[in-house]
Symmetry: none
Subunit: 421 residues, 2 copies
């Protein structure tokens, strides 16, 4: 069974924006065994969009449209689909009242133009939106070759994902023949993408099923295996057949056997050990704490952190001696070590992580080359010989500030995770 | 003049891959004054691709196709375009010999299947490829409405970019009228997307040129005006004609008249005033400091910050009294005020910003509803009546943790920016 996805919005026809909703939708459809055979991006042009909808409907069982549901004149999706299907639109007072209520909760009157968002195509099922004002629509169309479905979904990714999961999946399931798709995800840290692929491609290359994908993002590597079978047992057996040798080849470089990121795994270990964590950052400027606190419930083990962007802050709040920084530099193994030890002591935490480095793009005012980063890990017991602190150093061959910062945070989490039981 | 871009390849219909060639091509075409009105991704399916080519040709002056030029059966682009145009393909012995020579240089014999790459559509101009084996093709098509051009380009980005720049740009230039494109970007904070659009759509709606786009992302709003004229003066005049009334209508809600984000504007103001900044965060967990330090050179004015994720940390490192939090809650106006004042004093900064809130997704252990955020701004002079500190409160109707955090950081920067001269 085939699907096509249409993303609506002139902003996605600029040099700076890509449509990412289709990646989520593709993943969801594939799991059901529905193949995406074409994707389109159409600007805010009613006639062109109506034409695209007609064409996709003539070729594919499911047509998913995202975006163009806002309240403004630019938002043409409702009109275009009505035109393509040759159906009227009707004002739905229940939706209208819902939108008004949403505005009331924010202590605001509903602008008149938001009434457009309550227009529903004749015969459509309304898909409720619990994260925004624009509802979606599910429209069944009887065509010559059998019935087709058009789904209209909102553009903001968090609205689209919630709506698709809650409203569309249950309606789709009975329409597609049962197919068992099982996925295994490995997350790997501490090696390069090409080394990873060279290690495991001799294993997975022999198999069309499961399909294997290698993804790399700022030092975080993922291997996805996706098996499609008629039974659960077959799918699991196939994943074991290919996954077993991959696990053997990568060993402890795999940090996650599902899609949990490092900050979730670390949080689970800390919570289980009744341990706490604090961080002291310089180069990453808060990005490490931000990742750790992105996990709901992280306040159970994360005490807090210091972003010490000056030498004075490092001395005053972490107790890093000025003489030590004078001698070795603020970006140095010695400073990273002192930052981690100082943070751990002052916060009274079980573990502390420090990052000091030069994120670039230039060396202005820095005593270290761009891309040079030191990580410190301080813990309760001896980590490195007799000391309860260990440091790591890496120079990334990049002057791309956001990338150096992201790599540094990833490395710090990886190093901490390796110390935790 | 309009163009459509078709990316060919089933690998770009998976959940993990996006087509990025179209971003480069869009940028190049826009500079020439050619607008991209639709983009498509089509799998390795000859008939479907032929159909897409026919349709794009019927609607747009230029059709750019990337990928599907390899030597294998999966590579259907040449056949599909020949089919769409109803033209034969002819073996080009010069190309064939070039491909053979390429293999010889790598000390390999040319596999027989690579002969397919030397097939050229009748009437096409060959676009040479100095970075790979597959040449491109430039095909002029006389249609009822005037002549059209189909460009066939290789999929690998480095091959495509080199070929487009060297072979296509010089052929395109004489076909498009000279055009000057000038863009103006306004960034706005402190209002909703629909309020913004209701305010300015009566102004911009009357104009097709400049084209106006409104973008919203986590509380940050942007208005893009793009004027296309035959002279620089006309373009500027047009931007003033539409931009002037927009600026008048929005007043101080516009914080940026180019694409600089709040953290850059704040940094510039602080540096100019020789002032410094420190931040104290709870709910955003480092995200505010992370944004501020994303700006290269931010160490000139940013001293650092504390992520105080527990009451004890707030008391110990910011001097927030335990009794005050006991009485009002850790998420309260009083705590935000004490955090900002404490941070300013302890860091010795000119300005300090604090954030305390409940980012959700649940109220577990919190004394405030999900989405409730307090911001404190402490500065050198009286801000609010007699005090040098001001607080702001907002409840976002969302339990989406990353969104509440992003909104809170954006609001904190907006509030700070309004205090700075």
């Amino acid at each position: 069974m085939n699907a096509e996805i249409i993303a609506v919005g002139s902003e996605m026809l600029t040099p700076d924006r890509v449509d990412t909703n289709s990646l989520f939708l593709t993943d969801q459809l594939n799991v059901l065994g529905v193949e995406v055979v074409a994707k389109h991006v159409i600007g805010d042009d009613r006639d062109r969009l109506a034409d695209a909808v007609r064409r996709s409907l003539s070729a594919s069982r499911f047509v998913l449209i995202s975006g163009g549901l806002g309240p403004t004149e630019d938002d043409v999706t409702r009109d275009a689909v009505a035109m393509a299907l040759n159906r009227r639109q009707i004002y739905n007072s229940e939706i209208g009242e819902g939108i008004e209520a949403r505005f009331r909760r924010m202590n605001r009157a509903m602008p008149e133009i938001n009434r457009r968002q309550a227009m529903v195509i004749e015969g459509a099922e309304v898909l409720s939106n619990d994260r925004g004002t624009a509802p979606g629509q599910w429209i069944t169309v009887a065509e010559g070759q059998g019935s087709r479905v058009v789904m209209i979904l909102p553009g903001p990714p968090h609205e689209l994902k919630a709506m698709f999961t809650r409203e569309c999946l249950p309606r789709l399931a009975p329409l597609v023949p049962p197919l068992v798709i099982r996925t295994r995800v490995y997350r790997i840290s501490g090696m390069s993408e090409s080394d990873l692929d060279q290690t495991i491609s001799p294993i997975y290359k022999k198999y069309e099923n499961p399909a294997t994908t290698v993804l790399a993002h700022n030092g975080d590597l993922q291997v996805h295996l996706r098996a499609r079978c008629s039974t659960e047992e077959d799918a699991r057996a196939l994943l074991d057949e290919v996954g077993g040798p991959i696990e053997a080849a990568l060993g402890s470089l795999i940090y996650s056997f599902n899609s949990d990121p490092l900050e979730v795994i670390i949080g689970r270990k800390l919570a289980a050990a009744n341990a706490t964590l604090a961080v002291a950052e310089s180069a990453t400027g808060g990005g490490l704490a931000e990742r750790i606190t992105s996990v709901p419930g992280s306040s159970a083990y994360f005490l807090g952190g210091f972003v010490t962007y000056t030498r004075r802050m490092k001395t005053e709040f972490l107790g890093v001696s000025a003489a030590l920084m004078e001698q070795h530099g603020a970006v140095s193994r010695e400073t990273a070590e002192a930052m981690a030890l100082g943070m751990r002591e002052r916060a009274g935490a079980t573990w502390a992580v420090s990052i000091t480095g030069n994120a670039g793009p230039t060396t202005d005012g820095h005593d270290a080359p761009v891309g040079s980063v030191f990580i410190g890990i301080a813990g309760p017991d001896s980590i490195s010989g007799l000391k309860n602190v260990e440091t790591f150093h890496r120079i990334w061959p990049s002057s791309d500030r956001p990338r150096v910062r992201a790599f540094a945070a990833q490395m710090a989490l990886d190093m901490l995770n390796r110390q935790l039981k």
